[in-house]
């Protein structure tokens, strides 16, 4: 189910979400770990986690200076059942105005939709954990182990208003900074290339993702209509057998079309959305590197000034060395990360595009058969 391609057979640490429960306004995930690492008390265990705890884990990675040189796996999006719940509610209210048949049909459809959203959000949380577990450095993170093992509530509250506001300002500063930093030309060709590529890629993925979303949404609404059309067909004629068959046909094709839309959603839209987030994470990495480069250059300038004035030279030296070290460390790991990112991306696209094509083909063939048969 992962949109990414995790290392599946790494026995030292395997993480998955074995179960999930959807309650009023939250989802409880059962995170199941299998590990042969000595850090853990047992070889196999499970804990229950909520979305906020995933976010906490992600943020702890981002804020950790040691991980500045890695692409932090993007956080899973918040589970959003509002739209689906609203629809179910509306259906319940409108129960009186439709026939029993229509009502049960629509109810089944909406429930299937709810289930699909649910499965998706589980998958995305799982992908996040998989990526962390697959990363050679992040998997050793202490917070991660706590997350996996500590079987009580982590008492991580969601950010309150003040913190959200702080985050907002931090982002504003960061993006302004990002613009400044992006202007600095990089010495290293590889990074320069990556920077331009990522920028462009990210924008385009964003665009493609939005468009594919729209396309799929209109696909789905078209299906709704098919549904109504067929129910009306039946009641309008003396030649009932013929029209009954036609409306059955429409019903079948509609079900298939719904599945097509769902598959497209899964393979194409989700893929694009995921890489939108990942490319953003990669951009963040580049930003951090550029930031550290700027710091390094500033430290250099400070050192020169200190040497010129012959004051606090030692301090300036240590600070410069730190910056240099940090920059080099980031550059090194960043290079590897970006190469990995590319490999992963290519593999994921390949897998999903192949599956998309196969599914579309399958559905088209079935649809064709169904239509031909009812002639």
């Amino acid at each position: 189910m992962c949109a990414c391609v995790c290392h599946p057979t790494d026995a030292t640490l395997q993480v998955d979400i074995s179960d999930a429960l959807s309650e009023r306004d939250k989802v409880k995930f059962t995170v199941h770990t299998k590990s042969t690492l000595p850090n853990f008390k047992q070889n196999e265990f499970s804990v229950v986690r909520q979305h906020e705890e995933f976010i906490w884990l992600h943020d702890s990675f981002v804020e950790n200076e040691d991980y500045a040189g890695y692409i932090i796996p993007p956080a899973p999006p918040r589970p959003d059942f509002d739209a689906s719940r609203e629809k179910l509610q509306k259906l319940g209210e409108g129960e009186g105005s439709m026939t029993k048949e229509e009502f049960t049909k629509m109810k089944q459809e909406l429930e299937a939709e709810y289930l699909a959203i649910f499965k998706k959000t589980v998958a995305m949380h799982e992908v996040f954990l998989c990526r962390v577990a697959a990363h050679p450095v992040l998997r050793k993170d202490l917070n991660f182990h706590v997350f996996l093992e500590y079987n009580q509530d982590l008492s991580v509250r969601g950010k309150n208003k003040k913190e959200k506001l702080e985050d907002f300002f931090k982002n504003v500063v960061k993006s302004a900074d990002g613009v400044l930093v992006a202007g600095v030309k990089d010495v290293d060709d590889f990074f320069e290339h990556e920077k331009t590529f990522l920028l462009e890629y990210h924008n385009r993925v964003k665009d493609a993702s939005a468009k594919s979303d729209r396309m799929i949404r209109s696909h789905k609404s078209k299906n709704q209509l098919h549904f109504r059309t067929e129910t009306q067909q039946v009641s309008c004629s003396p030649d009932r057998k013929f029209f009954l068959k036609v409306s059955e046909l429409f019903e079948k094709t509609r079900k298939i079309e719904a599945r097509v839309a769902a598959d497209e959603d899964l393979k194409l839209a989700d893929l694009l959305k995921y890489y939108l987030r990942e490319s953003q994470a990669a951009k963040d990495l580049l930003y951090r590197r550029s930031r550290s480069l700027v710091d390094y250059e500033n430290a250099n300038k400070a050192l020169d000034k200190a040497r010129a004035k012959n004051r606090d030279v030692l301090q300036a030296e240590t600070s410069q060395q730190l910056c240099c070290h940090k920059f080099e460390k980031i550059s090194e790991s960043a290079k590897q990360e970006l190469i990995d990112f590319k490999t992963r991306r290519v593999a994921a696209f390949r897998k999903n595009l192949v599956e998309l094509a196969e599914l579309e083909l399958k559905h088209a063939k079935v649809k064709g058969l169904v239509t031909v048969r009812s002639r």
Partner: protein, 509 residues
């Protein structure tokens, strides 16, 4: 038949022989009148399976144009004789909406030929053939500014002896069609014949065309109207009584037609029509008919239900068309976006695959568009036509009610007069008595006439309704089958596209 023009001469003479052998239509068309031409009419309506299919087939706009081009090449000498084009100022031919039509001409052609041979066989077996086919084509803009109008070429191909020649065409404008309809309606509606309604006026649409905006929407409008006019004419001639009507014949044959001014929306005749309509509506509510015939009651109920259902269905098909168009727009946008993504991807194989994906999606978008057009032209227009037809049917029932009312009124009057006469008997006024007796005799005649009229209209309606129902079911079936075929084609195309894409996706490494 539509195909006689293409066939080598020997076959067409065979046809003629058959026709003459069973010449049901008396040569002098003028002898037809509003009375029930019962037997021959019924024969025609029941034995026309094959040709109906063919004529219905020609609802397809593509076939239409395929034929149009054929006619030009084969009939040029004839046309010169028949067509006496009146003084027509600046004729600006409008390019037909090629985006809709051209891609499918090739396909349609082949289908036409296979169908035609099939139909010929059927006809020879059937013997008594309904052999007339009308095409409306070549919309041309005549004139300029607000006085401009669209002229359509109406081509009739037939081997019926009712007409002077086998094939002929005339130029007509929209108001001519409306004029024909109003004439037919005034002649036949009140005696119970279901006269097919003409396409509706559309002030907005026509103004756009008049003003000269040559864009997609005005082309679509013209195309919509053209196909609606064609369907209207075909339905009218399918009616055995209407076919023989001199107005219809004049409409189809004569090159000049007196302009039907009373069809203009803002004329005095138009206002009078509106007032009449309102009066009718009020009357309908006040007439309480004593329905003695359960059949009529049941049928009326049936048509009411049908009306409601068809309207709903029509509405949802229209919104289906809308949504499909939206889907195609979104797909096109996505295709562009995917292409851009492919461009910026630096892994060559993936980049190529993404561009391929973009191409596939673009093709799918085109497919969606075509499907939307099929939805519309086949399905939605059919439904619209039937909604209007049912209104006409209901109108016929209303007329029957009015006839009954008239009969009852004259009966009541007769009653009153008789009472008055009885009273007069006891007074000594011989001339008044005579007057009363004369009036009574007159009224008795009227009452009898009223009763006869009522029975007549009831009988006619029964026949008409059963003919209508049969045709309706056939119509629907044919159109739906065509629609399904178009769906199948779409599916097959989809399969082809995705099959082509799959190896590209697999080639990413």
């Amino acid at each position: 038949m539509a195909d006689t023009a293409r066939d080598p001469p020997p076959e067409s003479t065979d046809f003629q022989e058959l026709e003459d052998g069973e010449d049901l239509f008396p040569e002098p068309a003028a002898t037809q009148e509003s009375g029930p031409a019962s037997l021959p009419a019924e024969d025609i309506s029941t034995n026309s399976n094959g040709p109906k299919q063919d004529s219905l087939f020609d609802d397809d706009p593509e076939d239409l144009f395929a034929e149009a081009t054929e006619e030009v090449s084969l009939d040029s000498p004839e046309r010169d004789v028949l067509l006496s084009d009146g003084p027509s100022p600046a004729i600006t031919p409008i390019t037909p909406p090629t985006s809709v039509i051209t891609p499918r001409i090739g396909l349609a052609h082949d289908d036409m030929f296979t169908h035609s041979s099939f139909d010929e066989i059927e006809e020879e077996e059937g013997g008594d053939s309904f052999d007339i086919h009308i095409a409306v084509s070549d919309p041309e803009k005549v004139g300029d500014g607000m006085n401009a109008y669209m002229a359509y070429k109406v081509t009739t191909k037939t081997s019926l002896s009712l007409f002077k020649t086998d094939e002929f065409s005339v130029k007509r404008r929209f108001s001519d069609f409306l004029g024909l309809h109003s004439k037919l309606a005034s002649k036949y509606l009140h005696i119970g014949y279901i006269v097919p309604p003409a396409p509706e006026k559309s002030i907005v649409g026509m103004t756009k065309v008049k003003v000269g905006k040559e864009d997609q929407s005005s082309n679509e409008f013209v195309e919509k109207r053209r196909s609606a006019l064609e369907r209207y004419l075909m339905r009218t001639v399918k009616h055995p009584i209407l076919l023989k009507d001199p107005d219809v014949l004049q409409f189809l044959e004569s090159s000049e037609l007196p302009r039907a001014v009373s069809t203009q929306a803002l004329s005095s005749a138009g206002l009078l029509r509106m007032v009449n309509k309102a009066a009718d509506a009020v009357n309908k509510m006040t007439i309480k008919m004593n329905e003695s015939d359960a059949w009529f009651e049941e049928k009326q109920q049936h048509f009411e239900n049908l009306d409601v259902q068809l309207r709903k269905l029509h509405a949802s098909v229209e919104s289906l068309v809308c949504h499909r168009k939206e889907l195609s727009v979104n797909t096109a946008q996505f295709a562009k976006s995917a292409a851009m993504l492919g461009n910026s991807e630096d892994h060559t194989a993936l980049s190529r695959a993404l561009s391929q994906l973009a191409e596939v999606e673009e093709k799918i978008d085109q497919l969606h568009q075509d499907q939307a057009n099929a939805d519309f032209y086949l399905f939605s227009e059919l439904l619209g036509d039937y909604v209007r037809l049912i209104t006409a049917v209901k109108g016929v029932f209303d007329h029957r009610m009015k006839t009954w009312q008239k009969w009852q009124d004259s009966q009541l009057l007769l009653q009153k007069k008789r009472e008055a006469e009885a009273k007069l008997q006891f007074t000594n006024k011989p001339d008044k008595l005579q007057q009363a007796k004369d009036e009574i005799k007159e009224l008795e005649g009227k009452v009898q006439q009223g009763e006869r009229d009522f029975e007549q209209i009831s009988k006619t309606i029964r026949k008409e309704v059963s003919r209508f129902e049969k045709e309706r079911v056939k119509d629907f079936k044919t159109i739906i089958i065509k629609y399904l075929e178009s769906l199948v084609q779409t599916q097959q195309q989809l399969i082809k596209y995705w099959e082509a894409f799959l190896p590209e996706a697999k080639a990413i490494s």
